[in-house]
């Protein structure tokens, strides 16, 4: 296949971006994984004599009100923020996709019922729901993730359902049915690969959004609880001191900003790569 030159160039540019941001995202994830060995200090060690120190050579982000090294806490905090977010996105993506695929394939009453449930979830303000979950199950990062998961899967279910509805009308699916494929084989080998593109793009773009939401819930005291290092709750701990010790807010804020940016750029690159208009066919 020979594609027009401009198109090839555009695609390879997209590839470079994809690899660049993919590598950056991997680096962030790897950093979070090895965070404990990357910290210069014990992130939970209090030293009240050195509380609220401005950034110095020893503490490049300064210290918090208990004298804990902010740089270490930001590094360790990446674990809570990033792994909870990745787990959250993985769960809602697979659950939503499986459900949407089922609805699109089965249609009928089960579909109508499940789609009404998803409407309900979409209409529910996330914060109110998280508050309710925190009220019933108590706060904590786990419950914040649960609350967000319970309310964020419908987006994926809707995409998967509409894509499945489109694929089930295609001739290639009719041909696959005539080849004697079982329902499971149709779903896994013919439908899923053909609907995966938009779902994957949504998932990668959602990593940034979900990271913000989780940090937001923690900031409001509905997520991670002190002394656990988590970016949102770290910002919350020092929010009253913004004017006097801005660096204490700056460090976790910068971390959230950078992580969200990396995953959003990766999401854009994945979208450009999978956009059907950019494809060489």
């Amino acid at each position: 296949m020979t594609a027009p030159e401009s198109m090839t160039r555009k695609r390879s540019g997209g590839r470079t971006r994809l690899f660049l941001f993919g590598a950056a995202a991997l680096l962030v994830v790897a950093g979070a994984f090895f965070s404990e060995s990357l910290c210069p200090y014990d992130p939970y060690l209090q030293n009240l004599g050195a509380a609220l120190e401005p950034p110095t050579a020893a503490h490049i982000f300064g210290t918090d009100r208990y004298g804990r090294d902010l740089c270490s806490r930001v590094i360790v905090g990446s674990r809570a923020s990033i792994f909870s977010t990745l787990a959250l996105v993985a769960v809602i993506t697979s659950f939503g996709t499986a459900l949407g695929l089922f609805c699109g394939w089965a249609r009928g009453r089960a579909d109508t019922f499940l789609m009404r449930v998803s409407d309900l979830c979409l209409a529910f303000p996330c914060l109110v729901f998280a508050l309710a979950v925190a009220g019933v199950l108590g706060g904590g990062l786990h419950n914040a993730v649960l609350a967000l998961a319970a309310i964020s899967w419908p987006k994926y279910a809707r995409i998967a359902r509409s894509q499945t509805l489109a694929v089930r009308e295609t001739d290639y699916l009719k041909a696959a049915r005539l080849a004697g494929c079982s329902a499971a084989r149709l779903a896994v080998r013919h439908i899923l690969p053909n609907i995966a593109g938009p779902i994957l793009v949504t998932a990668v773009l959602d990593i940034g959004t979900m990271m913000m939401e989780l940090a937001g819930l923690s900031f409001l005291g509905l997520g991670a609880k002190p002394p656990m290092a988590e970016w949102g709750s770290m910002m919350s701990e020092v929010r009253g001191l913004l004017q006097t010790v801005p660096w204490a807010v700056f460090a976790p804020g910068l971390a959230i900003f950078a992580a969200v940016l990396v995953f959003n750029l990766l999401g854009d690159a994945v979208r450009d790569e999978l956009d059907p208009k950019m494809k060489g066919r």
């Binding site: 041909a175 049915r177 004697g180 494929c181």
Partner: protein
């Protein structure tokens, strides 16, 4: 009397749109296709030809009527129960192959599902590709990497892979250009004879239908308005509608 391969009785399909009154795409259609016979189904666009094909292949459930394959009632059967007997060639060859799977995968899929090993299926696919005049190398290509005519040859290979008794061709040549069309028609007619398949041949081109089919059924608004030997229907049409069809094309 031998039992026909396909017997369709008072077949009816109503597409219901929510809230509104249903639309009868197929409205009381009855016909037989005997062993080794080639029956043409003609009619204007929207007359319900493809719907009949999909009903017979069990890709759609009928609203009423009966479908028998080799004497067995398959009206409520699953596609998987009939797919060894009925296969179909679709109008647009490229759209009939999964864009993410190779042609070889598609052609061999029915064999794999029937329990053949990967190696057996691969060997069978190579033979099938030869039989439809394609080099076996095409097995590793994707649908967008071959021409429309080559893709339709692969689709024919896929349809005959499992050895069906009835081949449904739903405008299998309409999407191809004229020179390729003649090749594909020749291939189909050779294979149908060689493998003693019966054929339900849906087609717009009356000259082609006359040459290809033993009998013709003329459909209009979901009903069969005329049926008879191909030459008879074309040369001395009994209904105004068939005359009009002939005039509009010839």
């Amino acid at each position: 009397m031998t039992t026909p391969i396909l017997r369709v009785q008072e077949l009816k399909k109503i597409f219901s749109r929510s809230g509104r009154e249903g639309f009868a795409a197929v409205d009381g259609v009855s016909f037989d296709v005997g062993g080794g016979e080639c029956v043409g189904l003609i009619g204007e666009s929207g007359s319900g030809k493809s719907t009949v094909a999909n009903l017979v292949a069990r890709l759609l459930d009928p609203t009423g009527g009966r479908i028998y394959l080799e004497g067995n009632d398959v009206t409520a059967a699953d596609v998987r129960a009939v797919c060894r007997t009925v296969q179909m060639v679709f109008q647009s060859p490229r759209e009939s192959f999964d864009p993410r799977r190779t042609l070889g995968d598609g052609v061999g899929e029915s064999l794999r599902n029937a329990g053949q090993s990967a190696a057996e299926a691969r060997a069978a696919v190579a033979e099938l590709f030869e039989a439809v005049g394609l080099s076996p190398d095409f097995a590793s290509r994707y649908p967008h990497e071959v021409s429309g005519g080559q893709c339709q040859r692969a689709a024919i290979a896929r349809a005959i892979a499992i050895g069906p008794k009835l081949l449904i061709c739903d405008e299998a040549t309409s999407a191809l250009d004229v020179t390729v069309q003649a090749d594909i028609v020749a291939l189909l007619s050779r294979l149908i004879r060689a493998r003693a398949m019966a054929c339900l041949f849906i087609c717009h081109d009356l000259a082609l239908a006359q040459g290809f089919c033993d009998r013709l059924l003329v459909m209009r608004e979901g009903k069969i308005v005329e049926a008879g030997a191909a030459d008879e229907v074309i040369q001395s049409p009994k209904t105004e509608y068939t005359k009009m069809l002939l005039d509009s094309i010839l």
